[in-house]
Amino acid sequence: MAIKKNTKRWLGGIFAGLFCLWLGFVGYIDWAMRQPPEVFGHVMAKMPMPAYFLFPFETMWSDARKGSLDMGGKAPDFTVKTLDTRAPVSLASLWIDKPVVLVFGSYT
């Protein structure tokens, strides 16, 4: 009986410790997801693939990257250069005449 109680306490302690470690790990990943992309990239580059399955990546990512611009909100304007001529253009001028789809991305 005493041995069983001790075993239970021992196992409970192990699980509690592991749970705290997991919480800390998830907290670290959540922090990284909210950093600039280069910082996040450096963190993820060091992470082994199996670790990706230890936290709810997609849910956390969607929350971390939701941004402050909401549907119905005003799209901000910036001066940007076109790729073909490198001429500066106002981003807002792109949607003066008709709606615009902006596709953000990169080659890599």
Binding site: S62, L83, L94, W95, V100, L102, V103, G105, Y107
Partner: protein, 130 residues
């Protein structure tokens, strides 16, 4: 989709900072597909990589390049990829979830249908017959 909505909606690629540059977070898929670029050191290098991207991927619609301080990416949270539909009165009509998981062209198609109606029929048929 850009071709189907030609005349009703304009499409623009907004080229932003690299998702998986070789000096930060290179993936096996980058190696496999030979898409290996370091983080650009200035705007011109970013534009050069953007040009390679547009050519290799056959992107037919125009592209703009984010400034080197990544102001547009920061404001629109565009990294690594994302889509927006913006109305003529500056309102955001559609904002995709962040990529890679949230990049769903079919959701954009639904938003376009709601905003401007069905795509041009003749173009849709021509596009589907190719």
């Amino acid at each position: 989709m850009a071709e189907q909505y030609k005349g009703k909606v304009d499409f623009y690629a907004v080229y932003i900072l690299e998702a998986h540059p070789t000096d930060v977070w290179e993936l096996q898929s980058n190696v496999r597909d030979k898409v290996l670029f370091r983080s650009p050191r200035d705007e011109e290098e970013r534009a050069s990589v953007a040009g390679a991207c547009v050519r290799k991927l056959g992107i037919k619609f125009p592209a703009v390049v984010d400034s080197f301080d990544n102001r547009i990416e920061t404001a629109y949270t565009g990294w690594p990829d994302r889509m927006y539909l913006i109305a003529t009165d500056d309102r955001v009509l559609y904002k995709s979830k962040p990529g890679p998981f949230g990049f769903h062209p079919q959701d954009l198609a639904a938003a376009l249908q709601k905003a401007v109606g069905t795509p041009n029929q003749s173009r849709a048929l021509a596009a589907s017959s190719k």
